[in-house]
């Protein structure tokens, strides 16, 4: 009970601190602006193709801006506690280091949940209005609204992996800039990691093959979350529940491992 209250306290303060920063609103406004602007790309075809473009563009906006926000927020909200020495007063209290890390993680995830809900909500409203305005008789099924929210959920899970990775980097980093840079690099490696996975089967030299396998295990394959093509629009194939749940579990396992490593590092860190 006590531990839960401590985690919730850190989570609440982290979230409050995050929503008081202008950066969150700037990213949110940029996202809203891009979603609103997506419908006005008149050079693209009208009708169903336009809808596909709007959905792809909106998914891209959520993916891109969400990635920037989660890395900036996680780094800022965790590392600033060390840099500003608020962690000194906090960790002098009877709170476990792991609970502090968990509180930070959940605070950022709460922020990202709000971000995802707002953008997916706006996406749903804009697509609904656009579909109603289309010169077609049968509008049902042109957009799979539920899949927009499924995409949002999967991206939120992906943000969780990134957030946990940022906390891990922040647990040993000595500067804010370093934490940011390494976290972005981590994301890049995660996005491109599928290349290593693909080349792994072609490597014949065993030590190198093992090295690539280890490398592929350390970094999550973030490419699996790029399912925008399979969701949302009329011709999308969709995702089975099993695949969606597997993806959520994949994210949860990686986030948990990174949080444990962050705790292990942070506990040993001298403040």
């Amino acid at each position: 009970m006590l531990r839960l209250d401590q985690i919730l306290a850190v989570c609440g303060l982290t979230f409050t601190e995050a929503v008081r920063q202008k950066f969150f609103y700037i990213v949110l406004l940029m996202g809203a602006g891009m979603l609103l602007g997506a419908g006005y790309f008149q050079q693209f075809d009208f009708g169903v193709d336009e809808l596909k473009f709007v959905i792809d563009f909106s998914f891209g906006t959520l993916f891109f801006l969400g990635s920037i926000l989660v890395i900036a927020a996680s780094t800022q909200l965790f590392y600033s506690e060390i840099e500003n020495r608020t962690a000194h007063t906090l960790l002098a209290k009877p709170i476990r280091h792991f609970d502090f890390i968990l509180g930070k993680f959940f605070g950022v995830q709460l922020l990202m949940l709000i971000f995802v809900i707002l953008l997916c909500g706006l996406m749903t409203v804009l697509l609904f209005l656009r579909v109603r305005a289309l010169p077609v008789v049968e509008v049902d099924g042109l957009v799979h609204y539920g899949e927009i929210w499924l995409y949002g959920l999967l991206q939120w899970a992906r943000f969780g992996v990134l957030s946990a990775a940022c906390l891990l980097v922040g647990s040993f980093a000595r500067s804010y800039l370093y934490t940011m840079m390494v976290s972005f690099l981590f994301m890049l490696v995660g996005q491109l990691q599928y290349i290593a996975r693909e080349s792994h089967s072609e490597i014949t030299w065993l030590p190198l093959r093992w090295l690539v396998q280890v490398f592929a295990g350390i970094f999550p394959n973030l490419q699996i979350f790029n399912v925008g093509d399979q969701l949302g629009h009329m011709n999308a194939t969709g995702l089975t529940s099993l695949i969606a749940i597997s993806m959520l579990l994949y994210a949860a396992v990686y986030a948990w491992v990174y949080l444990c490593l962050a705790w292990w590092n942070f506990k040993r860190r001298e403040l």
């Binding site: 008081r20 007063t89 002098a92 209290k93």
Partner: protein, 286 residues
């Protein structure tokens, strides 16, 4: 000897510096015992190891060798952190929170039960005299107010031991005096207080015992009275003596087998003069 609040045995702390891992020794075999219920002062120049010792007690850093215990519990353990409150030298808090919100946050972190929280917050605010500013954002607080709210957060869970790292750093003499009074009142409640400061005059008046550190080593330790009293000497402060009167006193001392070491006008301290002047001015205006 009474219950030991702090027990430090042969504490050694090295910090690695630079890429080559060269070690700088911050604490060099420090051993210290602090009884419960005392105000214990740590004195020493900058870099002598005061803050390092405090951080070791809080578990924020680990010793290279030796051990420290707080009320018999390993320093830095959850149990030890439950019985202590800490005020850092420069308290950095969340500027967007009000004083009350900050204390509510820290009371949750300290594990104060929900039903006792409000009472504890009010009590802590009352102890540091910050009730009227509790609804203001910390960003609007003066340095002295930040120190007071910092002290309040240290008191929230009613700790047996308070570790105060230069609680009066950057605070004006009036504020310093106020913090001194709070510390004395806390001692009256049976708390043990470990305090470091560069204000030697205040430490002299405040502390029961002091330790002087330099380069991580303990130079001397003892009760303030024992350390400051010159063995076999006595001081007399007289008023209204003329030259013949002084001669008579000197002769009496000589006749009694004593030796007059020094005759100097009695002085009050600068901090006492400052406090009195401000007090008189304030009373005059009211």
């Amino acid at each position: 000897m009474g219950e030991l609040a702090i027990e430090i045995r042969n504490l050694l702390k090295d910090f690695p510096v630079g890429m080559r891992g060269k070690q700088v020794r911050a604490l060099d075999g420090l051993s210290l015992e602090i009884e419960a219920g005392q105000i214990y002062g740590l004195l020493g120049p900058n870099g002598c190891g005061k803050s390092t010792m405090m951080k070791l007690l809080l578990g924020l850093i680990r010793p290279s060798r030796g051990a420290a215990h707080i009320f018999g519990m390993h320093a830095g353990s959850l149990g030890a952190r439950r019985v202590l409150g800490y005020l850092p030298e420069v308290p950095h808090f969340y500027r967007f929170l009000t004083g009350r919100e900050l204390l509510n946050y820290y009371s949750r972190i300290s594990g104060v039960p929900r039903r006792e929280r409000e009472a504890q917050i009010m009590c802590a605010l009352g102890q540091v005299g910050m009730e009227s500013a509790a609804s203001r954002c910390l960003g609007t607080y003066s340095k002295g107010m930040l120190q007071r709210i910092g002290l309040a957060q240290a008191l929230l869970h009613d700790p047996k031991l308070l570790i105060l790292d230069e609680p009066t750093a950057g605070v004006d003499p009036e504020g310093t005096d106020g913090i001194g009074k709070i510390i004395r009142a806390l001692k009256g409640q049976g708390k043990t207080i470990l305090v470091s400061s560069h204000l030697l005059g205040q430490m002299e008046r405040l502390c029961d015992r002091v330790a002087i550190l330099n380069k991580g080593r303990l130079l001397c330790e003892g009760s303030v009275d024992d350390l400051l009293t010159r063995e076999g000497t006595a001081a007399f402060v007289a008023n209204g003596l003329d030259a013949s009167g002084r001669s008579a006193v000197e002769a009496a001392i000589e006749a009694a087998g004593g030796e007059l070491c020094e005759v100097a006008p009695a002085r009050r301290g600068l901090d006492a003069l400052f406090s009195r002047t401000i007090k008189e001015e304030t009373e005059g205006m009211s």
